[in-house]
């Protein structure tokens, strides 16, 4: 598990490795609060995410709320088929931009 952050020109890239679940909460929340004011966009890289549970979906909703519900401010990239399935079941593809 792990949350890594990289900032390029105001774009905050968040990499989530392994299981995206409640164990990522503290790191995720910290990253969020640190960059919320300065970020032009959050890009969540899910290439190395093996699994996502409902608490991870909850964290994404928190991010959505904090960025004012603007779909252009959050982007998911490199979504694996497994994780895509989870996002689709919850219809999060309607709430977020998936690249």
């Amino acid at each position: 598990m792990g949350v890594k952050t990289q900032v390029n020109d105001g774009v905050v890239n968040i990499y989530i490795k392994g299981n995206f679940d409640i164990s990522c909460y503290d790191d995720f929340n910290k990253t969020l609060n640190e960059h919320l004011d300065s970020a032009s966009k959050f890009v969540i890289d899910l290439s190395e995410t093996t699994y996502m549970d409902s608490s991870a979906l909850g964290m994404l909703l928190l991010l959505r709320e904090k960025t004012g519900g603007n779909p252009a401010k959050i982007e998911f990239t490199h979504v694996t088929p497994e994780v895509m399935n989870i996002l689709k079941v919850a219809k999060f593809d309607q709430l977020f931009t998936i690249v």
Partner: protein, 573 residues
């Protein structure tokens, strides 16, 4: 700190006394195993130092006895011996001795080992104390949970009615894993079930279940439609739940008389339909985000209607069963669940739970699984009358009355669909809880048709295109926001047909004002407009629900006759 020294040699005892007392320890002595054990039992000691070779009781027995009689605290046993055989020392460690030192030894090492053993004792004591605190807290919490559960059970399951054809497997303490299952017979005689799952576990999930249950049972009792129930649940949850908690759910309504099932899946795994005769399985995936996230007006609470046969059954389940993992951490999954269902002539809930159990890597299968089976044959064979009766609604004698509602373009633009208010007004004139849902559907379809095709001139063939529904809605909202002319009239009249039966005429018409200020909104309806005006698919539904439906193209009026009759079984009762 008090140390018990056990050594048959007087010289050794004297030496140890000197060393230990010089370093501030209290010292007790014994020259054999038996005396030592008696002393250990009668005097509190913090540490035992013992030679391996002892008369009367062997050092091994002494160690074992000390360890087995000090289970609620740790008394370190330190072997200090002349013995050189490593087997003998190993054996002492195996029976429970904590450390050893072979003679001759350096005094510093000896004292350092004593300090280290006492430190270990200290840590163990602290650990033991905090374990005790945790276990007593846990016991209290368990007690509280049990009381809360009892209250909750009464609340959530109390008003539920006996629903036919229902087989369930619900984790006994289901309320604290966030699963919610509600079922009832609606006043109209339809069966309605709701299976849902809150994010996370524990108290927040359980608390959210309470408003869900309350809204569900109270609104259904008052004859509200499933989508109204869902929209109120959504608004409530949106208001009370923290952002990161939401409610995935499935609602299924079964109309036995029409052999029709309506389903709504918001963020749950696919509903599985299985026909036991044809051995065919079909999946109905989620069509909406879970409840409690979006504002109700941003959600489309559309039910999917499916015609069913008696040999159909439906499986609803929460994540528990599909997330069971085997030894390779592979998940049970939806595909496997469908296979397990399809491989049987008549799959039962128990079969599926057993399969998951066999698959699971956990020797103690965590029974964190909610799975529901709805068998159509049992529900469809119940007569509508009998089901209606079970909801205990008495119908008042029919009277004659009429109501007229006019909605101008401003109302239509600002207030949205007024059906709920119209139906409520009808209920004041003639309380017909059992038929309220059908009346709602009829009026709401006729109204929607008049707005979309009559006033806004939308072409429903748009819906046939890929992505058509959202295009249609987009266009609808765009035209609605600029609607500057037009009016819709809903005229409702009841004609009694006996003491406990009647016909309700519902006439919905649309028109434009003589002085329409927009040229494109012509005063005179063109032929094309007239034909298009009644193209809504909802009209099929209206035809199915009503005794008759007449469309008057010239006057842009749809007239439906809705007939009702108090079920005969009720008269007998």
């Amino acid at each position: 700190m008090r140390i018990l020294v056990v050594d048959p040699s007087e010289t050794n005892r004297f030496y140890l006394k000197l060393v230990l007392e010089k370093n501030g320890y209290d010292v007790l002595f014994a020259s054999n195993g038996l005396d030592a054990y008696q002393m250990f039992e009668s005097e509190p000691v913090d540490l035992v130092i013992s030679e391996l070779t002892l008369p009367f009781m062997s050092a091994y027995d002494l160690v074992e006895k000390i360890k087995s009689n000090s289970s609620n605290q740790m008394i370190p046993v330190f072997i200090v011996t002349n013995e050189v055989s490593s087997e003998a020392i190993q054996k002492a460690l195996e029976v429970g001795a904590d450390d050893f030192l072979q003679k001759p030894y350096s005094e510093q090492l000896f004292l350092a080992k004593i300090l280290s053993l006492l430190r270990m004792k200290q840590l163990t004591t602290e650990l033991y104390k905090s374990n005790q605190t945790i276990s007593s807290l846990h016991k209290n919490l368990e007690l509280e949970h049990r009381s809360a559960e009892r209250i909750f059970e009464k609340f959530v399951h109390g008003p539920g009615k006996l629903v036919p054809g229902l087989e369930t497997h619900i984790k006994p303490a289901s309320i604290f894993n966030g699963d919610v299952f509600l079922s009832t017979v609606m006043p109209s005689g339809s069966v309605l079930v709701l299976l849902g799952d809150f994010t996370g576990h524990g108290l927040p999930a359980a608390i959210g279940a309470i408003p869900v249950a309350e809204v569900f049972y109270s609104m259904v009792r008052r004859g509200r439609t499933p989508s109204e129930v869902l929209s109120v649940i959504n608004s409530k949850l949106k208001e009370i739940l923290p952002t990161h908690i939401f409610f995935s759910c499935i609602m299924v309504k079964i109309q036995p008389d029409r052999k029709l099932v309506s389903i709504f899946n918001a963020g749950m795994q696919p509903i599985i339909k299985f026909n036991t005769l044809k051995r065919e399985a079909e999946e109905y995936p989620s069509s909406s985000p879970p409840l409690g996230i979006l504002d109700t007006n941003e959600m489309s609470l559309n039910f999917l209607r499916i015609e069913v046969e008696p040999k159909d059954c439906f499986f609803l389940y929460t994540d528990g069963i599909v997330e069971v993992m085997d030894t390779d951490r592979k998940m049970f999954g939806v595909e496997r669940l469908v296979e397990e269902i399809s491989s049987r002539n008549n799959p039962t809930i128990n079969d599926l739970v057993e399969s998951a159990k066999t698959f699971s890597a956990e020797p103690l299968f965590e029974d964190d699984v909610t799975i529901i089976k709805l068998s159509m044959d049992e529900i469809l064979s119940e007569s509508k009358q009998k089901l209606m009766k079970s909801s205990n609604i008495e119908i008042k004698p029919a009277t004659q009355w009429r109501l007229t509602f006019d909605f101008c373009h401003k109302n239509i633009r600002v207030n949205g669909n007024p059906t709920e208010g119209v139906v409520d007004a009808i209920m004041v004139m003639q309380p017909l809880i059992s038929f309220k849902e059908d009346l709602y559907l009829v009026i709401s379809e006729l109204y929607a048709n008049a707005v979309e095709h009559g006033l806004l001139k939308l072409d429903s063939s748009i819906k046939d295109q890929p992505d058509g529904f959202s295009k249609f809605n987009e266009l609808k909202n765009k035209r609605l926001s600029t609607l500057e002319d037009g009016k819709i009239t809903i005229y409702v009249r009841q004609m009694p047909k006996g003491l406990h039966s009647g016909e309700i005429e519902i006439r919905v018409s649309h028109s434009f004002s003589e002085s329409g200020n927009d040229e494109s909104c012509a005063k005179q309806l063109t032929t094309e407009d007239k034909e298009n005006a009644f193209s809504g698919r909802g009209l099929l539904l209206v035809r199915a629900l009503c005794k008759s439906l007449a469309l008057d193209l010239d006057n842009a009026t749809a007239t439906a006759i809705f007939a009702w009759q108090q079920p005969e079984v009720l008269n007998e009762a």
